[in-house]
């Protein structure tokens, strides 16, 4: 399944300062759908090169990180159990506090 992943608010620093990643991620078995839970595990093992605790806590994103699927907060579309579709755009963004 082809997905566009974007990292912002400093999370790009965890994946070699690359903000936009075009990726292909396969579901666990052929008939199953890919969920956000699967994607998080894939991102953690395949993209995050340092300080994984700055991205995840337990099996979800750490506090202060927003997950947006096709410009919509994942909390509005099922959160971690949400099923992804071909060509979805998933944004991981850390909240900023500076000024």
């Amino acid at each position: 399944m082809h997905l566009t992943l974007e990292f912002g608010g400093g999370l790009d620093l965890l994946c070699q300062s690359v903000k936009i990643h075009q990726v292909d991620v396969a579901p666990k078995d052929e008939n199953a759908k890919l969920t956000m839970r699967d994607l998080l595990a894939w991102v953690r093992s395949s993209l995050i090169k340092e300080r994984p605790e700055m991205f995840m806590k337990g099996d979800t994103v750490r506090p202060g990180v927003l997950v947006l699927v096709n410009d919509c907060d994942w909390e509005l579309c099922g959160g971690i159990d949400m099923e992804l579709e071909e060509k979805d755009v998933v944004v991981f963004i850390s909240t900023l506090h500076g000024g």
Binding site: G8, G10, G64, D71, L76, T95, H97, G98, G99
Partner: protein
């Protein structure tokens, strides 16, 4: 002031004529603005364009709260402060610049740090609050205070080459704690003094904050409540996303909220976030 036409003086009609011509704003919008009071928390990178545009547009009362003094290494982004004010209070400097561009509005200087102990008294005097601070505990504190006093909050942030902006606790939308019930780890809290910021990035975000404050104070248009604006300055991309709604379980604005004015005053926001209330 004597008021003549529809609550506006002849001086106001001349000064704000380009606003009065707007069908979507007009006399009604200007009158609402002139009767409103807006508090800007922070006279730094975000606060600079916010106070300049709120002063120039004719808000009735503009409050500015900050305890910092102007430093030369602020001036690459804090356009409200002239070099002559280096070493003096930011609030004094910002108020002087604002008075010079619009002597007809009321500008109130709060030359002190906004803290849980004084926030209720200060914020209570205003209709709309702009969070232009630079640290995490202040963001929780200001959001909680706005929920307690039922004030709309326009929250902006900038760091490096990125910016974010939303409106909290407005027309049934979420508050800061609805989005972030648990604070991030302290190591995730980058600060402008450590990580840097391109000066014009808080400029863009601050102008958007002023726009949202003006729309809410003048009762026009549709605000960014429930939406987050994300700016990536390096590639000039702007994304506006839909956020979750108000949480029924929110300790601040939820159905069984535990937040009260009494426990707010003594809540330890620095301990809660493991982060200091200043970017020093």
């Amino acid at each position: 002031h004597n008021t003549f036409y529809n609550g506006l003086t002849p001086g106001m009609i001349y000064r704000y004529s380009r606003h009065l011509l707007l069908p979507d704003f007009g006399v009604e919008g200007q009158k609402n603005l002139s009767m409103s009071s807006i508090l800007v928390v922070g006279a730094g990178g975000l606060g600079s364009p916010v106070v300049l545009y709120l002063a120039s547009c004719g808000v009735g009362c503009l409050g500015i709260v900050d305890s910092d003094v102007v430093e030369l290494n602020n001036l690459h982004r804090q356009i409200v402060h002239p070099e002559a004010y280096v070493g003096q209070a930011k609030v004094k400097s910002a108020a002087a610049t604002c008075r010079a561009i619009n002597s007809s509005i009321n500008i109130v200087e709060h030359n002190e740090a906004l803290q849980a102990s004084n926030a209720l008294d200060i914020i209570n005097k205003y209709d709309v609050v702009v969070d232009a601070t630079d640290n995490l505990p202040s963001r929780y504190m200001i959001s909680d205070c706005c929920v307690l006093l039922d004030k709309p909050l326009i929250s902006g942030a900038a760091l490096g080459l990125e910016g974010q902006l939303t409106v909290y606790h407005h027309k049934g939308g979420p508050c800061y704690r609805c989005l972030f019930p648990i604070p991030p780890p302290a190591a995730a809290c980058q600060r402008c003094s450590d990580s840097g910021v391109l000066g014009v990035v808080p400029g863009v975000i601050g102008c958007f904050q002023a726009l949202e404050a003006i729309k809410i104070a003048s009762c026009i248009g549709e605000s960014l409540s429930g939406k987050l604006l994300i700016l990536d300055a390096l590639s000039s991309r702007v994304r506006i996303v839909k956020l979750r709604g108000r949480s029924l379980h929110c300790v601040s604005c939820g159905e069984n909220a535990t937040l009260s004015q009494q426990n707010f005053r003594t809540f330890d926001y620095e301990g809660f976030t493991q982060s200091p209330m200043s970017d020093k």
